[in-house]
Amino acid sequence: MSASLLALSVAELRDGLRRRAFSATELARAYNAAVEAARPLNAYITPTPERALAMAAAADQRLARGAALPLDGVPIAVKDLFCTKDVPTTAGSRMLDGFRPPYESTVTEKLWRAGAVMLGKTNLDEFAMGSSSTTSWYGPVLNPWRRPGDNRPLVPGGSSGGSAAAVAAHAAAAAIGTDTGGSIRQPASFCGVVGLKPTYGRCSRWGVVAFASSLDHPGPLTRTVRDAAIMLAAMAGHDPRDSTSAPVPVPDFEAALTGDIRGLRIGIPREYRRDGMPVEIEQLWRRGIDWLATAGAEPIEISLPMTEYALPAYYIIAPAEASSNLARYDGVRFGLRIAGESLEDMYELTRAAGFGAEVRRRILIGTYVLSAGYYDAYYLKAQRVRTLIARDFARAFERVDALLMPTAPSAAFAVGDNSDDPIAMYLNDVFTVPANLAGLPAVSVPAGLSADGLPLGLQILGRAFDEATILRVAEIIERAADFRHRPSFLAEEMR
C-alpha cells in the first residue's frame, strides 16, 4: 500500500485523501520512510518527520469533518532557501550555521494554510548559486537517474537540485524551489520532473534568502503539469510584505488545462539553435514543435536577436545584486561568527570561513562591477542590455502566444564535471536565463530521453502573468511525450 502511495501525483493524492482511501497520517508515514530511504541522494538537509506527522494529523481532522483545504495532507519538500519558523534554514551555507528563523516565508505559510504537509528542507547549491547542487556545505546532491550500464553518479542540476531529486525519487510528492537563472527548470529537466518559474511578482519573495532580488522567483517542482498548476495556485498571490509582489488576481490554473491549444501561435526562436547543440536536443525540440502542430497550434519562427547576450548580462547583474544582498552576513546578528581582534577582522574572517568558493567568486565579481569607475561600463551596460532582451520578448509576443525551446543544452552531467571552469558551468543556464531577465513565466516539462537514457526537458515561455497558457501548452507536450520512464533510484525500492 505505502509503496503505491508514493507513486501518486498531487492531484491523485488530493482525490484519494478526500475519498478517505488513505489517511494523511498514513501518507506522511510512507513519505517519512521514503525520505529516510532516499538518504543516499543527500536531497534533504533537514528532514522534519515529526512536523510532518503533526501537520498530517491536523489535515486528517479537517478531512474527517469534510472541511478539506486545497492541499490537505499533501507531503511536500521545501528548498532550504525558504525561511521556516524554528526549523533550521541553511541556504546550503556554513554562513547560516545554527540559524533558526523566527518567522515563516510567505510562500511556505500559504502552503501550510492550504493544508500541505512539510517533509523537510532540501539541499541546494550554496545560496542558490550554481547549476549542479554540488557546492552545498552539506555535500552534493545526487541525481536519482544514472546512465544505463554506467554507475557514475550524476548531478541533479541546480540550484534546486535537492527538490528536483526528491520529487523524481518519490521522496516528496511535490517540492518548492527558487529560480534566479534556471534553478527550477534546469534541475527539473535533469531529473525528469516538471519545473515552473512563474512571472516575477506572482509569488512573494518575503522570507526567501535573497540571492539576486530582481531575478529570484519562487516556484514549484512536480511530477505532472496539473500538479504544478495546483501548487502554483496555493503559492501565488499579492503580499504587501514584498514591494515587488504583484497586486493581480490569481486565476484558476487547473481550469486552464483544457487540452485545447487549437489556433495558439507558438514562437520558435531561431537564436536558440546554437552551434554545437547536441543533435538529440535539436531532435527533441523538432518533435515538440510537431506535437503542438498536431494538436492544432501554429508554430511560427521568430527572432530574439539579443539572446546571446543574456548570459553575460546575467553574470554581471546577478553577482552585483548578490554582493549587495550577501553584505548582511557579518557574524553579528545570526549565523556563523569567527572571532577576530577587531570588528574588521571579525567581518573578514567570518565571511572568509562562511562562504564557499563560488559564492566568494560572485561576491567579488559583483563588488567589482559595482565599484567606482566600473559601474557604468559593466553594471549599467548590462542593465541596458536587459532592456533590449525584454524588448525582444515584447516584440515576439505581438506575433505569438507562447514560445517553445529546450530547457538546457545537455542532459545531466557527472559529479565533478564543469567544476574547474566557472563559465562552462554558467553555460548550463543559456536557455533559461532570458526568462529571468525579462521576468516572464516559463515551465520545463519532461519530453524524452537522451541517447544515453537521461531525461530531457522542453521549455514553454509565456507573457507576463499568463502562466495559464504555458501550463496548457505544457500539458499537451506532457500527453504527447507520454514520459513514463523512471529513475534507477526510487525511494520505495530502497527498503
Binding site: 546578528r333 545570526f334 561568527r337 570588528l343
Partner: protein
Amino acid sequence: MALDKATVAHIATLARIRLSEAELARLAEELSHILDWVAQLEEVDTEGVPPMASAAALSLPMRADEVTDGNCREAILGNAPHTARGFFVVPKVIE
C-alpha cells in the same frame, strides 16, 4: 580585462572577505577570465537605451505609516552569536 592581485585584494577588502596570497592569485585569474567573457556586451549598441532594474512594471506601492510588528526583541536576538543585556555584542570599535 585582466585583474591583478592588488585589485583583487582591494575588492576583497571592500567585500570584507579575507583572502590568502594563494587565493588572490587564483582569483585574479578566474575573475579576469569571467570579465573577459562578459566583455562581449561591448558589441551591443545601447545608445539611448534606458537601464532595466526590475521586471516589475510597478511603481513602488504606498501604505499607511503604521507599526505592523514589534515587541520581538528576544526572537531577533535569539540567533545572534553573542548578546548581552538585550544588545548584539561585537569586538571593541573604539580605542
